[in-house]
Symmetry: C2
Subunit: 349 residues, 2 copies
C-alpha cells in the first residue's frame, strides 16, 4: 500500500497525490476530492521514512533529558509533545541516565533520524557532541545552560529571582536563621541557586554559619542526610535554623522527612521551602511551599527557538537567540511565621 496505489485508484499521478497530501501546490477541487476518497478507501498513510528521505525534513524534534524518572521532566516532555503535535511535528525523547556514553548514543540517534532540531536539558553536555549538530546544520536549544551561537539558542531560567522571592517570603515571616541545602555543585543550575542564596544572606544580614549550609544531591536521600547534619550540628551557641531553603523539591521532601524524624513540626519549628514545584509537592504533609519553574514555558520557548531557526535562510542557520523564563512563588503550608525566640531556644538535639 503506497502512494502509487492511491494514484492509480484516483486516476492521477503520484505527484498529484503527494501534492494533495502536503498541500504544496494548487490542486483542482475535483481532483483533490478524488484523491482524498482514494486515500480514505485504501486507509493509506504515507511512509514517514520515505517522506523524510525524499524531502530532507523529518518533522521530528529531539528532546534529550537526563532521567525521565526525575519528576521534573515528565511535565516538560508532555508540554513539548503537546506543542509539537499542535504543529504537526513529532518528538523523540532520549534519556542520558547521566551517563556520557549514553549521551553519545542519544546524540547519534538524533543525528541518524535527521531531526529538525534538538532541545537539550541535561546536567552533562559534551562540547564535541554539540559540534556534531552544528556541523550538520541542526538547530539546538539548550534549556538552562549554554550560550547562544550560530543555530544554538538558549532558554535561561531566572533562578536568582526565584531564590530571591523565596528568601523574601521567609524573611517576611521573620526568619533570620535560614539554612540552605544545595544541589550537586557541578551543576551550573545548582550553583546559581546557591550563589543567590549566599548573596541575599549577606545582603540582608542574616545569620551566617557553616552549619547552616549543606550540600545534597537533588534527590530525596541527599536532602534527608543534609538536613540531619544541619539539625545535629545545631548546638547552644549555634542554634537551630528556623527555616530551610532547598535547592529543589526532592531535597525539600527529604529534609521534611528528617525534620519529622527528629520530632520537630513543620512549619511550627522549622519552615521548609522547595524549588521546582513538581506535582508531588502539593501532596506532601504539610504541602510544600516552593518556587515554580514553569515547564510549559520552558517547552514553549525551546520549541519557538527551534522553529525560528528553521524558518529563516535555509543556507545557514541564523544566530541563536536568548530566551528567558521566570519563576513564580507557590505558597503552601510548609512555611509559617517564626516562633518567639524564647520558646525555641530551649530545644536542644
Amino acid at each position: 500500500m503506497n502512494i502509487k496505489a492511491v494514484a492509480k485508484l484516483a486516476g492521477v499521478s503520484t505527484a498529484t497525490v503527494s501534492r494533495t497530501i502536503n498541500g504544496t501546490a494548487k490542486i483542482s477541487p475535483k481532483t483533490e476530492e478524488r484523491v482524498r476518497r482514494a486515500i480514505k478507501s485504501l486507509n493509506f498513510y504515507p511512509d514517514t521514512n520515505a517522506r523524510a528521505l525524499g524531502s530532507g525534513r523529518s518533522s521530528l524534534y529531539g528532546l534529550i533529558i537526563s532521567d525521565i524518572t526525575n519528576p521534573f521532566y515528565p511535565e516538560l516532555i508532555k508540554a513539548f509533545e503537546d506543542i509539537a503535535i499542535a504543529h504537526n511535528q513529532e518528538i523523540l525523547v532520549a534519556n542520558t541516565n547521566y551517563d556520557p556514553d549514553r549521551m553519545k548514543i542519544c546524540v547519534t540517534r538524533m543525528l541518524q533520524r535527521k531531526v529538525d532540531g534538538v532541545a537539550i536539558m541535561t546536567s552533562e553536555m559534551d562540547e564535541a557532541l554539540i559540534k556534531d549538530f552544528s556541523r550538520r546544520n541542526i538547530p539546538l536549544a539548550f534549556l538552562d545552560a549554554g550560550t547562544p551561537g550560530p543555530g544554538v539558542s538558549s532558554v535561561h531560567i531566572n533562578y536568582a529571582a526565584g531564590i530571591e522571592a523565596a528568601m523574601r517570603h521567609l524573611i517576611g515571616l521573620g526568619h533570620q536563621r535560614i539554612a540552605f541545602i544545595a544541589g550537586p555543585l557541578r551543576l551550573a543550575s545548582a550553583r546559581a541557586r546557591f550563589r543567590t542564596f549566599k548573596k541575599i544572606q549577606a545582603r540582608e544580614h542574616l545569620a551566617i554559619h557553616p552549619g547552616l549550609i549543606e550540600v545534597g544531591n537533588h534527590r530525596v536521600d541527599g536532602g534527608r542526610d543534609a538536613m540531619l547534619r544541619i539539625l545535629d550540628s545545631a548546638t547552644g551557641s549555634d542554634a537551630m535554623p528556623t527555616a530551610v531553603l532547598c535547592s529543589n523539591d526532592l531535597t525539600a521532601i527529604g529534609a521534611m522527612g528528617a525534620i519529622h524524624e527528629r520530632k520537630l513540626a513543620i512549619p511550627r519549628d522549622i519552615s521548609v521551602m522547595g524549588f521546582d514545584n513538581i506535582q508531588l509537592s502539593a501532596y506532601t504533609m504539610p504541602s510544600l511551599s516552593t518556587v515554580s519553574v514553569p515547564r510549559a514555558e520552558l517547552a514553549k520557548a525551546a520549541f519557538r527557538a527551534l522553529l525560528h531557526a528553521q524558518e529563516r535562510g535555509l543556507a545557514k542557520l541564523p544566530e541563536g537567540q536568548k530566551y528567558s523564563v521566570d519563576t513564580t512563588l507557590v505558597l503552601r503550608n510548609s512555611t509559617g511565621p517564626v516562633r518567639e525566640p524564647k520558646t525555641s531556644a530551649a530545644r536542644k538535639k
Copy 2:
C-alpha cells in the same frame, strides 16, 4: 555525507560499506579496517530513514501510554528504553492524554514510522485501531489488558494476588474493619482490584458496610475526597475503619492527607496501604506500605513478546502469547497493628 562518500574514500562499493556496518556478510579484515577508518574519518552515521526504507525494518518499537505525568509510567518507559537500547533498537513514546482522538494520532504515528512492534498500556483502547496494526502485520503487546490473538500478546498483572497479599498483611495486624478506595470502575484493572477486595472481605468475614467503600479516580484529589467521605460517614454504630486499602498509591497519598486533616495518626489510628509502589511512596510521611507492580518486569515481558513475534516465520505473525508478572508486598511505615478497641471507640468526628 552518505554511504557513497564512505565507499569512495575506502575504495570499495557501497554494498561493502553496508555489509561492514551491518555485519550481514563476511568481509575480509583488511577491507573492514579500511571501511571503518573511512567511516570514522568522515564521522559518518547512516541515515535511519533510508535504512528503514531499504530494509523494511525500522528498529523502532512504539510505546503508547496514557499520561507521562502519571508517576506510574516513567519507570516503565525507562525500563523499556533501556532494554531497547541494549538490543540496538529505539523506542517511540506517545501519550494519549486519555483522549481517543489523540490515541488515533498516536497510532497513526506508529504506523507511519513503520514501527516493528507496539506495546500499549492505556486505559482506553479502540478496537478499530488495533485492526490497523494487525492488518499491517505489526505485533502488539498489551500491558494489563486484552487477550492474545495473532500477533497480539498480552502481559497480565496478577492484581488478585497483590490485593490478597495486602489484605493478609492487614488482617495479620489484627484489622477487621478495612475500608477500600477503588479506582475508576471503567478501568478493568481497577475493577480487578476491587473484585478481589470484596471477595476476601467476604471470605475472611471482615466487617462489611457500604460506608467502608468509596470510589476515587486514581488521583490524589479523588483519594482525599473518598477518605473524607469514609471518615465522615463513620458514626457510633458504624465505627471508623482501622485500615484502608487504596487502589493505587496516588489515592493512598490523598487518603493520608485526609486522615491528617482529621487529626488522626497513621498508622496508630488508621493503617494505609497503597498499590503500585511508585517511587514517591517511599518518601511520604509516614512512608507508604504498598504492593509493588514491577515496571521493569512489565517492560521486559512486553519487549520479549514483541521480539518473539518478529523472529518467527516472516510471512504471518505467530499467535501471541500470554505473559504474567507478579506483584510483591512492600512494607513500610503506614501500616501497623490495630489499636485496642476500647481506646479507639471514644473518638468521634
